[in-house]
């Protein structure tokens, strides 16, 4: 059979400053080779064929003496029970492996072999699907979506600083529009008089209510972003310029939106885009709208209820029996900040093989 595969290419979406630049391709054997090149001992796999017509090869990778066998069996059984015509992409498996109605992502997709190897060393399972350049990392916990491979290639103090920025961006992305709506419609006491007067001056010519204006801006931004993603590179720069003109100068000059609303929505949207996981970006978008609606109805009380709702979702989510928000002290040292010690450890909730290494 002819070889229809493309050659190895650079990473497209999860860019880092340091670290390797090779990415997965559509051939499962090449993808397995990229991982095996980095992990030479004890790398084990289970081969499955799923899809009545596609007979797609699926490889479940794990490390023999690190990964919990029950997790591997659980994943293997769930994938084996899939009865479908064809598996075209790894995301087809996600319907069987995670709760579809949960807003928060619990499975990470990555095109980076180094990220997969790091996950294997932590006791996680990697699922490779033939004809798909993305691997699945299972289970992916809350803090995993805030980490990048760069965090492990730099000094702890730099990594900690960037992680704190990411967490702040997460909350800004979800709560900033809601807080602005609360302040400008119900809870004027929260800001000082000069700021209140500045906000009033900015909104004096806008014909819409604050929350309608916010929803219109969010919709415009999402349309622009979607158009930018789907268009070819040649046309995308035109869309960016057009969008900037429409959403910026022209809308304000026409008196449709206030400048402060553009700033709020822009900061909130850009803060949401710093995450490489598209699933987390989508989850942030949904929470942003829920908090916006709660804030419109109930003011700052609604914003606080939105926070409780988010916290409830985070604490209530489980993936393969594991808690989404880890309580293991070793993991908390590598969560919001990064603290290293001479003895490197693993998450004891995921594996009994606790010690990862020692610096002498």
């Amino acid at each position: 059979m002819s070889n229809y595969n493309r050659g190895l290419s650079n990473i497209n979406s999860e860019l880092t400053i340091n670290g390797s630049k090779d990415a997965f391709i559509e051939d499962i054997n090449t993808n397995y080779g990229l991982i095996n090149k980095r992990i030479r001992n004890n790398l084990n796999y289970i081969d499955l064929n799923i899809g009545r017509y596609s007979n797609t090869i699926i490889k479940i990778l794990f490390i023999d003496n690190i990964t919990d066998g029950r997790l591997v069996n659980n994943i293997s059984n769930r994938i084996n029970n899939i009865d479908i015509d064809a598996i075209i992409d790894s995301s087809y498996l996600k319907h069987a492996l995670e709760d579809e109605y949960n807003i928060l992502p619990t499975i990470m997709e990555t095109e980076r072999p180094d990220k997969c190897c790091m996950a294997l060393m932590e006791g996680k399972v990697i699922v490779l699907v033939d004809n798909c350049p993305y691997a699945l990392i299972l289970p992916s916990l809350f803090f995993d979506f805030f980490h990048t491979p760069d965090d492990y290639y730099q000094k702890n103090i730099n990594s900690s600083f960037i992680r704190i920025i990411r967490f702040i961006a997460f909350f800004i992305a979800i709560f900033l529009p809601g807080i602005y709506i609360s302040v400008t419609t119900r809870n004027y006491d929260l800001v000082s008089l000069p700021l209140l007067l500045m906000l009033k001056a900015g909104r004096s010519f806008v014909p819409f209510s604050a929350y309608i204006e916010a929803l219109l801006m969010i919709l415009s931004f999402e349309i622009l972003r979607e158009g930018d993603l789907r268009m070819s590179q040649a046309a995308s720069s035109s869309i960016s310029i057009l969008g900037g003109l429409i959403l910026g100068d022209a809308a304000v000059a026409a008196g449709i939106v206030s400048p402060i609303m553009i700033i709020i929505i822009a900061i909130s949207s850009i803060a949401g885009l710093i995450f490489s996981s598209i699933e987390l970006v989508n989850a942030i978008r949904i929470y942003k709208i829920i908090v916006l609606l709660l804030s419109s109805l109930l003011g700052i009380y609604g914003t606080i209820m939105g926070l409780f709702f988010l916290i409830y979702n985070i604490f209530n989510t489980r993936i393969f029996g594991y808690s989404y928000l880890d309580y293991d002290l070793n993991e908390l040292k590598d969560s919001v900040i990064k603290i290293d010690s001479k003895i490197k450890t693993r998450n004891t909730k995921l594996t009994k093989n606790k010690i990862r290494g020692r610096y002498k």
């Binding site: 109605y101 949960n102 807003i103 400008t184 419609t185 119900r186 809870n187 004027y188 006491d189 008089l193 209140l196 007067l197 500045m198 906000l199 009033k200 001056a201 900015g202 909104r203 004096s204 806008v206 209510s209 604050a210 829920i290 709660l294 109805l297 109930l298 003011g299 009380y301 609604g302 209820m305 409780f308 709702f309 409830y312 979702n313 209530n316």
Partner: protein
């Protein structure tokens, strides 16, 4: 999914029992920054509204005055709301000027906490 929807409805329902401030667009409220109260036979009250206007040079402030005469200080807020049919916002009052003897009783009756109280 059902749990999430139920939780959101519970939050909305609980919100009915809290004292949520009334919904008012910023353009529709009258922000009062100065109050003058004169006690004579009746109580004469003058309110000053600060209205920000955006210009090419930044923000300038225009002032509008509202006048009313009442017999009982407890009718302060309702009398202005009924006379002018507007939503007055008193929580940012900077100066309260008055010739009345019992200013502390007046401020606690009308529930206004100005930054500065001047005796005239």
């Amino acid at each position: 999914m059902k749990k999430n929807i139920v939780l959101l409805l519970v939050f909305l329902f609980i919100g009915l029992f809290f004292n949520i401030p009334k919904y008012n667009e910023l353009n529709n409220i009258v922000i009062i920054d100065k109050i003058k109260i004169e006690c004579s036979n009746d109580i004469d009250i003058l309110l000053r509204e600060v209205n920000p206007v955006k210009t090419d040079n930044g923000i300038t402030y225009n002032y509008t005055y509202y006048k009313n005469n009442i017999k009982n200080i407890n009718m302060f807020k309702s009398s202005f709301a009924n006379k002018y049919h507007k939503s007055f916002y008193y929580n940012k009052v900077k100066i309260l000027e008055s010739n009345c003897n019992d200013i502390d009783r007046i401020t606690s009756s009308i529930n206004i906490k100005p930054n500065k109280i001047k005796k005239s």
